[in-house]
């Protein structure tokens, strides 16, 4: 009975997610049609919608009500070599506006980025640490994560966990924390896992929360945070540091002088070179896997939703049937993305733990 109810509510959630995606895309499309004024008239600019969503932006376009678009303005923080620091709201640059010599480049090398015009007319990209849509989403998600985990920790501080079962947030988070801590971290790292478990747990929940928030189609979710290579780069970098800075002597010996026949390393250090290459490919694979999976998930869901609008011109029968198919596939993809959100967080954590475990291995 309960299971059935949960199942139904999950389906409802997925359906509503898809419906909201559709709405979001419709609004995006309307906005795109309004601003870009496509040359081909009423053609749906799927690529524009996709990249408009996947790429970063200086605004957070929430929705449109009638002709009025609701946009959350975000702070722009720039350092120009010529004029120093600048800090203003992105509303100043809306609709191709210029402010203090800065504007959003339309095309070219710096498309959709803030540039300033050099005296000779070329575009110069200032040092840009603006709080963009992704940064803002990152902040919101991180705040959510911190609040959740600290609430959970507070429960443990206020209660005796040995005497009563955890309730509320602690009850939700505890099984996941135990699973990651015991099954992934402890198994992969071994005896000094305690040192790494806060980092790995942070990584797991950071990725999980950002992934899940990315699936939510409306504000404050929907930003493509973990599907952005800068985010995954930093995460992979942290693992790279954790592996290589705290690696023991046995780890470095295995890299520089591995247990292979002598001719593989003496005249020409083939194996050591391959091993050194491996140091960098491991975090690289972490980075690309997470980025590609999440970005592809966003792109597929958006494409499916776009089908509804692309087929609008093909008549009501075609549009209706295609809409049905697109919605069904959308539901399926939303389920899949929920799974992927978890699996990618899990894999990133597990592989990081395995790499750390390898760097802490003692010689037999």
């Amino acid at each position: 009975m309960t299971r059935c109810r949960i199942f139904i509510s999950v389906i409802c959630a997925a359906l509503s997610l898809t419906a909201m995606h559709a709405q979001a895309v419709q609004l995006d499309e309307a906005a795109a049609a309004g601003t870009a004024a496509d040359a081909s008239g009423d053609r749906v600019d799927v690529q524009g919608i996709l990249f408009g969503h996947i790429n970063d932006s200086y605004w957070w376009h929430v929705t449109d009500i009638g002709d009025k678009s609701i946009v959350i303005p975000l702070p722009v923080i720039l350092h120009s070599r010529a004029t120093g620091w600048h800090c203003f709201m992105s509303t100043r640059l809306e609709d191709g506006g210029r402010y203090r010599g800065f504007y959003v480049a339309g095309e070219g090398k710096y498309a959709d980025k803030i540039v300033e015009e050099a005296p000779d007319g070329t575009q110069i990209r200032p040092f840009d640490i603006s709080v963009t849509k992704n940064v803002f989403a990152l902040m919101l998600n991180s705040a959510l994560l911190v609040v959740l985990v600290l609430c959970c920790a507070r429960w443990y501080r206020r209660h005796d966990a040995a005497e009563e079962a955890p309730t509320g947030i602690a009850g939700i988070l505890e099984p996941v924390i135990i699973m990651v801590n015991d099954d992934v971290i402890k198994d992969a790292i071994g005896k000094d896992y305690r040192r790494y478990s806060p980092y790995l747990l942070t990584v797991f929940f950071f990725i999980l929360v950002n992934n899940l928030m990315g699936i939510v189609p409306f504000f404050p979710g929907g930003a493509n945070v973990t599907g952005n290579i800068a985010i995954t780069f930093v995460l992979a970098m942290c693992t790279f540091i954790a592996v290589n800075v705290f690696g023991n002597r046995h780890y470095w010996k295995d890299i520089l002088w591995p247990d292979v026949p002598l001719w593989l390393k003496v005249p020409l250090p083939v194996m050591p070179l391959i091993e050194i290459f491996g140091i960098f490919t491991k975090p690289l694979s972490l980075m690309v896997r997470l980025f590609a999976n999440i970005m592809a998930g966003h792109a597929i869901i958006l494409s499916l939703v776009c089908i509804v609008f692309i087929t609008a011109k093909l008549g009501p029968v075609m549009n209706g049937s295609m809409t049905l198919i697109a919605v069904l596939f959308g539901v399926f993809m939303d389920f899949l993305e929920l799974l992927v959100a978890f699996i990618q967080a899990y894999i990133f954590t597990m592989l990081s733990a395995v790499f750390i475990g390898l760097s802490r291995q003692e010689a037999e």
Partner: protein, 166 residues
Amino acid sequence: MPDSGLLFWMTVIFAVVFGLLAKFGFPVITEMVESRTRRINESLRLAREADDRIAALAKEQERIIAETRKEQDRILKDAALARENMIAQAKAQAADEAEKILNEARTHIEAEKESAIKEIRGQVAMLSVKIAEKILRRELSDDNAQMAFIDRMLDEVSRTDPERRS
């Protein structure tokens, strides 16, 4: 290429999140969970030990009961034996006593008889003497010679008497 602004913010935010969670978040939770795990394991171990102890106690109890029963049997058997002994002893003692009393009575009777016989003999002697005196007063002049003669005669009589009795 990763965007430098995003890279910067991601580094800052992740560092802050990591710092907060690694200091105030996860260690608290994992420690509590681990202490609970330890406690549960400890409780399970104690429960197992208590079970073992109870089983051992039950076995001990059984052993004690069996032992007690055996003891009881032994005591009952001993008591029966003692009773038999006592009765037998009492019987033997009573028999002895009776024997002794009988013997005493017998010797007593014997002695009484002996003394009675002696007395009778004396009496008889005296009577005989008196009779003989009375008879022979006139005839016998010397008492002593007469007495010796009479004694000798009586001895002869009493010597022949027991022969006749037996």
